[in-house]
């Protein structure tokens, strides 16, 4: 069977007969089961596959990262504490996808609550990289990327990023991930990690797929006060326009061999020549603030996370225990949280609680917020002169799962060096595969100014056409 791209599938999906649609659904179901068996990519497969309306996505399977609420379909956020949680409502993006004719194939594996860069902090199975099953998928949207890579049926993934959780797995698996501007896509129904940075985005096999799904799920939502009212752009209409005259910034710090695998940095540099062939130009620039990004990012992320996770105390949903009148509320909640949270979640709760305690709040939390302002200024300065910033997506190729498991937390946090800057400051990014090292894909991250998704999608699409990566 020849795999159709979704772009070509869309030429005929509006005319599908009922039986053809049923076949597509049945096949998607069967293949998802196999993919799960092979790569442990799902936490929950959806038994009730149904297309609810006819729209652009008619017949396209959509997988959903497991921290996005799906009505009636188990949603765990990758945590034991929500092992039996069935949301009473759909996230806004799920409503939009259903209205567009997509069907929810299942909920994809992730680091618990998004706490990880490799998808190894998992309460359930650790997803495997379809390029090499011994290697990590990247995190935290690891399952989303693995399913996307492995799917041989029309499929696009809804993923989510806080500090790089779309770019990392997209780069490690050789898929395309779009992390939109903060506020572009409604977060209503997204189980919070760090609300000031969480963004729902997409992972697809190619730029078209990821852009198409973003176009469908984006938009202002009165239920999320941080979503922004904008004219919704058609990326599909603008993505094929040429990029002649585009000016690209290459921040030298992001190619420093001290932080980045030389082979990765060099491959990205190499592919820049393709951009020149397309009529774009680039300058090497400096973004010295980048070195503060990771620590400041983590302080804000864990401060917010530690408050978000406070609600899980075994009362109305999630893990519960037989009530025992000899226990106080605090003792009961402690037992639930002790058993329900994994090690990384506990680490972030403790660190996050510390960072916002009086006496430390000024030195950590409030200072980190100031650094975010400075970083935004830094980016704005660059975007006043350039259309996009290009860096490697990840500093390394996907490590082996066993190596990743024994890595020190600080070293793991360091993996986010490429992605934290734009994520912390709310800039949109797209990661596309550009080359391979040791047979493993490496990604290029294109960063745009706030709400300039159309521009970076256009650059990515133009580049994708000339790269012949596969």
């Amino acid at each position: 069977m020849i795999l159709l791209t979704i772009e070509s599938f869309l030429e005929r999906n509006q005319n599908l007969k009922r039986e053809e649609l049923d076949d597509i659904i049945a096949r998607a179901k069967e293949r998802s089961l196999l993919i799960d068996k092979e790569y442990d990519a799902f936490i929950t497969l959806n038994d009730n596959l149904a297309v609810e309306s006819k729209g652009i996505l008619y017949g396209v399977a959509i997988s959903v990262k497991d921290n996005i609420c799906t009505k009636g379909l188990r949603t765990t956020a990758g945590s034991r504490i929500l092992e039996s949680y069935i949301p009473p409502f759909d996230a806004t993006v799920i409503e939009k996808v259903k209205r567009a004719g997509g069907f929810i194939i299942g909920k994809t594996a992730m680091d618990e609550f998004g706490f990880g860069s490799f998808s190894i902090n998992c309460a359930y199975k650790i997803p495997k990289n379809p390029n090499d099953k011994e290697r990590v998928t990247g995190g935290s949207s690891g399952g989303a990327a693995a399913v996307t890579k492995a799917a041989d049926f029309p499929h696009i993934a809804i993923a989510q990023s806080t500090g790089g959780s779309i770019t990392a797995p997209a780069a490690f698996t050789g898929t395309v991930g779009i992390t939109p501007t903060y506020g572009r896509v409604s977060r209503y129904g997204l189980i919070d990690y760090s609300n000031s940075m969480d963004k729902i985005g997409t992972i697809g096999k190619d730029v078209f797929d990821a852009a198409l799904l973003l176009q469908i799920i984006q938009g202002y939502d009165p239920r999320d006060s941080t979503s922004i009212k904008l004219n919704e752009e058609s990326y599909i209409d603008s993505m094929n326009k040429e990029i002649k005259g585009f000016k690209i910034a290459i921040p030298k710090e992001y190619y420093d061999y001290n932080y980045v695998d030389k082979r990765v940095a060099d491959k990205i540099m190499d592919s820049l020549s393709k951009l020149e062939e397309l009529g774009a130009s680039f300058d090497i620039i400096s973004m010295p603030m980048y070195k503060y990004a990771i620590s400041a990012y983590y302080i804000v992320a864990i401060s917010e996370a530690s408050t978000n996770l406070a609600r899980y105390s075994g009362l109305r949903y999630g893990l519960q225990k037989q009530l025992d009148s000899s226990l106080t509320f605090d003792e009961y909640a402690s037992i639930i949280r002790e058993q329900g949270f994994g090690e990384e979640a506990k680490r972030r709760i403790i660190l996050g609680t510390f960072a916002r305690m009086s006496g430390y709040r000024d030195a950590f939390y409030l200072k980190a917020l100031k650094i975010r302002k400075l970083l935004i200024d830094d980016y704005k300065r660059v975007f006043s002169r350039y259309d996009a910033i290009i860096t490697p997506s990840m500093p390394v190729i996907a490590p082996k799962i066993k190596d990743a498991l024994s890595m020190e937390p600080l070293k793991v946090y360091g993996m986010d060096i490429m992605t934290v800057g734009p994520n912390f400051t709310g800039m949109p990014t797209i990661s596309i595969p550009v080359a391979r090292v040791e047979g493993m894909p490496i990604g290029m991250q294109i960063v745009g100014d706030h709400f300039n998704e159309a521009k970076i999608i256009r650059i990515a699409r133009n580049l994708e056409k000339v790269l012949n990566y596969e």
Partner: protein, 474 residues
């Protein structure tokens, strides 16, 4: 005797919907946990959306309390674990409240300084099966209250005694009611944390005292407790205490060093709200007439005494409204004000009722007072009728009217009877013993069951005796 008292007052705002979701805010007698949604239940993935009406209410309160208004406000998460907390953090305002540095003046001319006015969400309601935290084996949580909007009003420790507190609270509630932002009858409409310190003692905070009466009880108890603690130990320690409504006493919750660290962060789900000068000016220009202005107007337009005007307005807005409504039916402000602030208020206080909790209607009340003023009804009977009216809610119109119907002729009829059967007393009277007819008057009053005005009865009796004498003389 140098007590310092400060209040952190929480009042429920009567917006249409809750503070961060679209559930109703003023549903009465709803089944527990029926008025909830994923947001106020703290379900994963739900997001708060700010109720703009509550912000406007907050600005109105801050303006009425002479505060300066912040040009930008935002919300923070106050994190602590408690069973009534749906998210284990409360969305409140921390760094920058809506209003700061205001004051409210009380009758002795003292300005009670207002430190801040902000808005926040109410936690859920906890029900203890035994009504007592210490003896209940379990507790129940009703999330209907979760997410209802509160305004927190914090005073400086400027009160010297509980009388000042009571007057301030009456006035504050009247202001809130004049603003139309508060319903005193709502469930847990008013709670306060009360800070009390005596001379040379540390500050003691009594948490979560519900209602005006309990606030006064808590203050009384604390002052006595602290004074005796000081006599005994030479000091009063800084601590937080719990007030028991059952016993009227306070018990220690925690010492100062165990105060919770709430770990405030900005709530990243809620954007900054700008309060522009134009918006504030607009709200200011739309503020309704407030108590001080209303009292002035009552004195000026109705020519009533200041003490009456103050009671009418500051005791309870509904009472002032009732007064003005009654005036439409009987334009005698002085008389109405007197009767309302004395006998009507006395009956209301007896039952701890407010005027709008009774069936007392202004038109009926006005008729009653008019009848008194026109000597159709005795003062004593009017007092009885007010009592019956407040007690039972029964329409007293007929009783007022029927009283009028039997009035003068009936008294004369009864009087003739007693005069005829007591001729001895009459002749005593005629001889100059004026008191001799007291028995006759008393009998008539007794028979008419206080429904006759003693003055009128006396007049009638004397008149009849005089007339008889005149006829005999002919």
């Amino acid at each position: 005797m140098n007590e310092k008292i400060g209040l952190e007052i929480h009042v429920r705002l009567n917006t249409k919907t809750k503070l961060f979701c679209s559930d109703h805010n003023n549903i009465k007698n709803a089944k527990p946990n029926s008025n909830t949604c994923p947001v106020c239940m703290g379900f994963p993935g739900s997001k708060p959306v700010l109720n703009k009406e509550a912000v406007r209410y907050g600005v109105m309160i801050a303006l009425a309390l002479n505060c300066s208004i912040s040009s930008k406000i935002f919300f923070s998460r106050k994190t602590y674990f408690y069973p009534d907390m749906s998210k284990n953090y409360q969305i409140t305002q921390y760094e920058i409240p809506i209003g700061r540095e205001g004051y409210l003046e009380i009758s002795n001319g003292k300005r009670i300084r207002i430190r801040r006015v902000h808005i926040e969400e109410d936690p859920a309601k906890i029900l203890y099966p035994t009504n007592d935290l210490n003896t209940s084996e379990y507790l129940l949580v009703d999330y209907n209250r979760s997410g209802m909007p509160l305004s927190e009003i914090v005073t400086e420790p400027d009160f010297s005694d509980k009388e000042e507190v009571r007057e301030f609270m009456d006035k504050l509630i009247s202001i809130l009611e004049h603003l139309g932002v508060f319903d005193a009858q709502a469930d847990a409409a008013l709670r306060a944390d009360v800070n009390v310190s005596i001379e040379n003692g540390e500050r003691v905070e009594v948490k979560n005292v519900s209602g005006l009466e309990n606030i006064e009880r808590a203050i009384t108890y604390e002052i006595i407790r602290q004074r005796s603690a000081y006599r005994l130990n030479g000091r009063v320690e800084r601590e937080t205490r719990h007030f028991s409504e059952v016993s009227g006493t306070t018990t220690k919750l925690r010492a100062k060093e165990f105060e919770e660290d709430y770990g405030y962060i900005f709530d990243p789900d809620l954007p900054i709200v700008k309060l522009s000068d134009e918006l504030i000016e607009k709200i200011k220009s739309e503020l309704p007439e407030l108590p001080d202005k209303r009292i002035e107007r009552f004195i000026r337009s109705y020519k009533i005494e200041k003490s009456f005007a103050s009671i009418l307005v500051n005791k309870d807005k509904q009472l002032a409204d009732f007064f003005e409504e009654s005036l439409k039916y009987y334009n005698n402000p002085e008389s109405l004000a007197k009767w309302i602030t004395t006998f009507l208020l006395k009956s209301l206080n007896w039952h701890k009722l407010r005027i709008n909790q009774t069936h007392v209607k202004p038109e009926v009340f006005a008729l009653l007072i008019r009848s008194v003023d026109e000597n159709k009804i005795s003062d004593a009977y009017a007092k009885d009728l007010i009592k019956i009216y407040v007690d039972t809610g029964k329409d007293i119109t007929d009783m007022i009217k029927s009283y009028n119907a039997i009035n003068k002729e009936d008294i004369e009829k009864i009087a003739r009877r007693y005069i005829e059967s007591n001729m001895k007393a009459v002749s005593e009277y005629k001889k100059g013993n004026i008191r001799a007819i007291d028995f006759i008057i008393g009998s008539i009053l007794k028979e008419t069951k206080k429904r006759a005005d003693p003055k009128l009865v006396k007049e009638i009796v004397i008149d009849l005796i005089d007339k008889e004498e005149a006829s005999v003389a002919q």
